[in-house]
Point group: C2
Chain length 251, copies 2
């Protein structure tokens, strides 16, 4: 086992205090001078240690105000909610809006609608065999309490939805899923793929990400009763702000 | 919109080529000299662009051999498989071993068993009310084709499993879940929480992570028929090597 350097030892102790809950989210951690005295190390060593924790996304260093354990108040996403049975007359709320407002927070979203050749991965998932097959994509940038929070791009085969509200800009109050149902393509099965990666610079800018924040990429494919894929929804979820939860029961 | 610098433009073009599938995983991308000529930029600009893509985990720069689109052959994890009904006499394979071997790859794991005060988060999930309550943790470091692949730490309340095989080191052929059943605590409900973050230095070393690789943290809590939590399994999954898939049906 290689011996760790001095700054790594300081970082390790602070990290342990954060992961163990000794320092809780939002707590101010000791100042540079306090850490120098407490660990008998130089200011430079303290700064290297704090830099490491910042890169891991554990702390936020705020000019003049000090260093804080990063607030983690992740939004709880429940992908199974889209399967809940709905009362006939109830409006079909957007699952994101529902998750946010149920926490007493304010949800907003911008929607852009485009007709595009989909990325390779989306075309494969939609089983589009022709190379030039087009899709309608409804791109959402979502806000919670006024802050950009995540993006959700839902792709539909153009030939399926060309004559529907799905190609028109703006929100669909009863939800695009309902429109698919009316077109004879209710989604009766979902396949959800979850992975993570570092954001692209474009995503960092759009979602105002802190350095060292990965994104969770959550892709849902919806199938109709004939097992045809009718929708691919790609969500990009900044990892510090989201938690995905599934509940399973043994039948 | 701020104008992006020259190296960011080069990075953006390469990134687009990777995400669109023009460059596929394992492909060698053009050399520095070719990129200089192709984009009419300096070597320094090319290197900055490649450095950015490396940090995003999209490419691997290999000394003397060139630059390659990172291989992504993620292991498909199906958390629902742990719920599959099992024939009475069939051995209960470990879900990880099953996922790996079904892809024709070789799975191995090292298991260490310890009695510990659990981290705060685990204690909360196990609803351990006494501050000094102990847990047994079975820590697994898992290998695929000889490479460290992920870690899985399963915590059990000590008072529940103290007299069982779960506290003894070594593999349990029929699976720890089966032992819990025999102790009268079958897991009939699971709550799965999925999030992502940057790895700790310790995780980077243990899992031999490339720079810019986040980890997916997958936490499963298993409940017995009395709704008591009997197991918390924390998996740390390098994001470039894992894909989590759930399948849902409307009933």
């Amino acid at each position: 086992m290689a011996r760790s350097s001095l700054y790594q030892q300081v970082a390790a102790e602070l990290r342990k205090a954060i992961y163990s809950g000794e320092f809780r989210p939002g707590d101010q951690i000791p100042t540079e001078t306090e850490l120098m005295d407490g660990h008998q190390v130089s200011r430079n060593t303290v700064r290297l240690a704090l830099g490491e924790l910042e890169n891991e996304g554990l702390i936020l260093r705020m000019r003049r105000r000090g260093t804080f354990v990063r607030e983690r108040r992740p939004l709880l996403m429940r992908p199974q909610d889209e399967l809940l049975p709905l009362g006939g007359d109830l409006p079909r709320f957007d699952a994101f809006v529902h998750a946010v407002t149920s926490e007493g927070r304010v949800a907003e979203q911008n929607i852009e609608v485009q007709i595009v050749q989909p990325p390779h991965d989306v075309a494969t998932r939609l089983e589009l065999v022709e190379d030039d097959a087009l899709t309608v994509v409804r791109r959402r940038l979502r806000y919670v309490d006024g802050q950009p929070y995540n993006t959700n791009d839902s792709y539909y085969p153009l030939k399926l939805v060309a004559d529907s509200e799905i190609v028109r800009p703006g929100n669909i109050t009863r939800g695009a899923n309902r429109v698919l149902e009316e077109l004879g393509h209710p989604q009766v099965r979902f396949v959800d793929d979850i992975s993570a990666r570092m954001p692209t610079p474009d995503e960092s800018t759009r979602l105002q990400l802190e350095p060292g924040t990965p994104v969770v990429v959550y892709v849902r494919v919806g199938y109709d009763p004939d097992e045809a894929p009718v929708r691919v929804a790609v969500s990009v979820l900044p990892a510090d702000k989201h938690l995905i939860r599934y509940e399973l029961e043994r039948h």
